[in-house]
Symmetry: C2
Subunit: 330 residues, 2 copies
């Protein structure tokens, strides 16, 4: 029996997520049964989606009080009773917030490691691939004005850089002057707006004089509404997430202009989840790695040490404290 540490959800948050909603327990883990593998987790992905899963059923079951905290992770097989996986293989999936995981072979997939493990959690991982697929769904055309919300986040910063590679004018929305500066000076965005400055509509008009052709939305809420009114005719909105709505009770109303503006401006909105595009996974990883090699895509990671730091890492992410991909190194 191996000693394990696990993080459980203790209570469903009603408002903002707090450390007291979690409970960390020392447990032990039994050897794998037939069809199972034992995994030593190396990196756990910290995502806004972790919080959304506590709100109710989404594309997966709700995380309920008493459940092991769910989370995407990558790790090494250290014992195997499966014919599909051997010791030393890297695997990924919802391995949960713990040091070791026992998983049935059907619940995980092999990681095709072509770079460092952390890169497979960031730009080559789910968030980088989300950005890649999102920008592909946007049908980018040269000189499109592309607006990215949560632009300094794991998905947003990569999406913005991809749009730049396609020759678009790229503007990022983020929550601080420091992150705005970083987007423009380090990542090459054409402009950035600190939405907390209170001048969103004015700043949008200034930085997007030809209005917005593509809006890559990670936040929903009031920002979504403001941008809807700033869209160009025939604009495309790629709906990737609704970060602003996760760390609270579900909102009582939605954005004005839906569906009226969608009709008059002839907009397209497309929601997507990267897991539906597994058939494009290899293509995405190959292209992203190529852009990294060509110095066209800057990798930014925000690595936190130790499982015990996972709750505060998620709380901080929901408060916008990260730049780039946040993950926990076990």
């Amino acid at each position: 029996m191996i000693k394990n540490t696990q993080v459980f959800l203790k209570e469903t948050p009603k408002g903002k997520l707090l450390k007291s909603h979690f409970e960390i327990k020392n447990t032990s883990i039994k050897p794998p049964l037939i069809g199972e593998v034992l995994i030593e987790i190396e990196y756990i992905s910290i995502d806004a989606a972790n919080r959304a899963w506590m709100q109710g059923r989404t594309y997966r079951e709700q995380i309920l009080p008493g459940n092991l905290m769910a989370g995407y992770a990558i790790g090494k097989v250290i014992d195997s009773k499966s014919e599909l996986f051997k010791i030393g293989d890297y695997v990924e999936g919802d391995l949960g917030w713990q040091n070791y995981a026992i998983k049935n072979e059907k619940e995980i997939e092999k990681s095709n490691i072509i770079s460092t493990i952390n890169l497979h959690m960031s730009v080559l991982g789910i968030t980088g691939r989300t950005a890649y697929i999102g920008m592909k769904l946007a049908n980018l055309k040269k000189e499109d004005t592309v607006l990215i919300s949560a632009a300094a986040g794991a998905v947003g910063n990569v999406a913005g850089q991809i749009a730049k590679i396609h020759g678009c004018r790229v503007i990022g929305l983020t929550g601080s002057e420091i992150k705005s500066k970083w987007l423009v000076e380090e990542l090459g965005f054409d402009g950035a707006i600190n939405y907390k400055s209170g001048n969103l509509v004015k700043d949008l008009r200034k930085l997007c004089p030809n209005k917005v052709d593509v809006y890559f939305d990670n936040v929903g809420g009031e920002i979504f509404e403001s941008i809807l009114f700033g869209m160009n005719n025939h604009g495309r909105i790629i709906c990737c997430g609704a970060l602003s709505l996760y760390d609270q009770l579900p909102p009582k109303s939605g954005p004005r202009g839906v569906p009226g503006i969608i009709v008059t401006k002839r907009l397209s909105l497309k929601g997507f989840i990267v897991m539906d595009f597994d058939h494009q996974k290899e293509e995405a990883i190959k292209q992203l790695q190529k852009w990294i090699n060509e110095n066209k895509l800057i990798v930014s990671e925000d690595i936190v040490e130790g499982l015990e730091a996972a709750p505060s890492a998620l709380i901080g992410l929901l408060n916008g404290e990260n730049k780039g991909k946040r993950m926990v190194k076990i």
Copy 2:
């Protein structure tokens, strides 16, 4: 000089549209100048969009107090100073609410008359073609559950019949038991819901046990919100209009679930305006006429007599009193 009668907008309605918002005047009309034609109007289309145009700028300028009431219409050229149109030609465009119109040749287009004139205002006209294009954008697949709002209206009844022709399960939403019965018994819908009965969510669940694959939305508002939550994963929403929001001040909030549900259910929303699809006009008219000839598409028209009846015809339409395409015969 020919005597004319014209309907003007007297006042911008703040809430529900009333007859007192209009003013009917007897005027006279001068002969056409070079490049102009004189048109004797035969049918004026009555559309929910007429009311939307009073709310503000849409895809066209707002109709302001003092303006001639705008409206799509069809008529015969009775005098021409244009080389493009000769006496006897039928033409259509925004001819306005009046008996006669002087129009520049650039403001109108020739009607390719292949049936009775009224049919070119209904199923072969803008509303029929709107239904045709909308159903084309929906990418209908056999056995899709297709839900149509304002299903007894000019666009909705044709859209529903087209979806039936494609082998879909078609459910209509409408505002009375009589219209519900008409949709099922006369037009062959698989089911209909009177949304005023107060059981929308329950009725939806009963009639759409496999949820909704395609929602053709003509109404927006609370109905839009309810249906959003009843959509199937990967569902498509075709946004054609927002009838429920036209006859009032612009709403203070929009539907819940935007954009959260769009992401988790991976929905597509597509707004459109039929004028963007003029290149498919001949194709649409040909196909619609073919379906009529094959008795697959039932034509339903609601013809009101005389220009003076136009204001109350529009008010009635906004209150849901019509079945099929409402138009005014001059």
